[in-house]
Each structure stands twice: as C-alpha cells, then as structure tokens.
Amino acid sequence: MWGMLAHLGSALDLFLADSTKTTLVVAAIVSAVTLIWLSRNLDFSAKIRSAFMYAHVALLLFPPVFFATTLSCKQVGLCEVGLTQTLLFVIPITLILGLAFGLLIVPLLHRLRSQPESGKWQRFVNGQSDRLGLHKAPDVFIVDSGRPEAFSTGGLKPAMFISIGMLEVLTRRQIEAVLLHELGHIQEGSHALKPITWLLRALYPEPVLAPAAIVAEEERKADAFAASVQKTDVHLNRAKRKMAE
C-alpha cells in the first residue's frame, strides 16, 4: 500500500517537473475557477450556466485524466509517445467523462440552487404525469431569478425548473404550456441530447450528424406534445415569444 503511494508520489513529482504539463494543468484549474466566477458574477441564462457547469466538470477532470494517462503510458512502455499524441487521447476522454459526470452532477446542482414547489404547478405536473402513465411525476422547482426561463433535467429523478420571473410574466395557460413542453422532453428522455451535441461539436468540428437539427427536432416534438394536450399551440407560442423578448 505504502509502496504504491510512494510510487504514485514519485510519478506525480515527475509529471509536475515537466513545465508544459504543469502549465496545462494550471490552465485547466484556472479556467474552471474562472467559469465559476463568471457564472456567479455575470448575468447568464440558465442554459448558459448549465453549459458552464459541464465545462467546469470537464476542466476539473482534465488534470487527473492527464496524469493517469501519462502514468499508464509509462507502465505499458510507451513513454516516447509525445505530448500532442497524449493530448489527442486525453482531451476526448476528458470530454466524455465530463459529459457522464455532468449528467449526474448538473441536475443535482440545479436542485441545490432552487426551492421545491409543492403548490398548484406541482399538482398540475402530477396530474399530467398520471394521465400519461409516467412512472413518477417530475419534481417542480422554483428558481430565484427575475429572468423568465424554464428548463428540465432528466436522469433517475427528473425535475422541472421555472423561474419566478417566468411566473410573473406568463398567464396560467402559458405556464401550463411551458410545463407541458418540459414534460414532453422528460417523456422523450431527450435531456442527454444537448450535452451530447455539445460534445459532438467539440470532438468533430464538421460532424457527420447535424446536432442543431437533432435538438430542433426534439424541441419540435416537445412543442407538439404540449399543443396536443392543450389542443392548441397558441399558449405555447405566446409564452415562447414573451420569454424571448
């Protein structure tokens, strides 16, 4: 055990002795801290803040993945592999792990920053979920923000987030339309799609798949779901216009 730790310690010393590697690790940590500062101090929408959270997780994962890759390279006798080749392996792995961890952590962070809603909007979502035969109704959370916005997260415990700003500017029917749109996303299980499209865009600058078209199609399905329940798309369209103004 101690021998293993000593071995790891000396490998870490060797890793940090390389100024290029140390610079890359420090740059990743500084970028992660900068992202936190930006999302706390500047005015961004919830979607941008979510993207920052995923990027933050990936940046924090970069140093251990980089170190582990360098270490394993040494173990299998491929020490001669250059830095560029190592990074070509490390960056995709970090992004994939960032996505996987992000899908677990980001919904949790959103829950921690919001208040559960147990009133009429939760009852509305419970009723609609029952009607659809969903295994469990998503939890509704209130986001303390004056900016009108709504989003949902998937996973084992799906949740919907609506801001106080949204409740202030939309009518009851429009709020229901937005909640149904988010319920449509949860029913389709399309939450992982956006981060996956970000990942695809990062890995393949000219992707074979068109991520924007996939996301647009999911949005269209969620809109169609809300319109089919309300038997009109007037409320959803008005809500979208108001929230985009």
Binding site: D144, G146, P148, I164, G165, L167, E168, V169, K242, E245
Partner: protein
C-alpha cells in the same frame, strides 16, 4: 444599507432609468405594476422589464422580496437608495474619477470654483 462602493459603476440605460424612476415614484412595486407605469413612454415587453429588474438587483440598485399572491409567486421590488442618495453617489463617483485623473489640479480647481 448598500455600500457606497457597490453602487453604480456605469451609466444607466433608458429602460433602467425609467424603471428606477417608476420605483422612486411608487415605492414597492411588482413587475406588472412597473410595466404598466412605464409602457406608454418606454414601449417594451413585460419580460424586458423583468430581465432589467433582475439585472438591477444583481447590481444592488434594487432589492426584492418574494410574495405569494393570488397569481402565485412574484417579487416585490424597491430601490436600495433614495433618488437623492443615488444622485449623490453618481456625483461622488464622477468627482472621484476627475480627482484620480487630474490630481492636485482638479482639487485646486474645485477649491477656487466652489469656495464659499
């Protein structure tokens, strides 16, 4: 009470000014009330008022409390400073900037110009 240092670091947009004016006139108000008050002179959407108020809150120019009414949750906004305090803080910032830039010359100019 808001610290002097937290107060405005830049000039206000026309919508921000209109919102603050409305709040100084009416006192505590909801987004809808402010929107009704300013919409004729400042044509804009209610959501723009909500977003602008959120920005003013982040800049510590307005404070807000959450209220539960017939229409559900809403914010009640009020200004952090009176109109007079706000003007004073803007003037103070402007003077500080001039003194910082021109040093002694600015101080002696103010002494000569405004000596009673």
């Amino acid at each position: 009470m808001v610290k002097q240092s937290d107060v405005v670091n830049e000039t206000l947009s026309p919508l921000e000014s209109a919102i603050l004016e409305a709040l100084w006139q009416s006192g505590e108000s909801k987004v809808r009330d402010i929107f009704q008050k300013i919409k004729t002179k400042n044509p804009c959407a209610q959501s723009s008022v909500a977003v602008t108020l959120d920005r003013l809150y982040e800049r510590k120019l307005v404070r807000r409390t959450i209220t539960t009414g017939r229409g559900g949750l809403a914010y009640i906004y009020s200004t952090c400073l009176s109109k007079d305090e706000f003007r004073k803080s803007l003037a103070q910032q402007a003077v500080d900037r001039i003194v910082e830039r021109f040093g002694e010359s600015a101080v002696s100019y103010f002494n000569e110009k405004y000596r009673k």
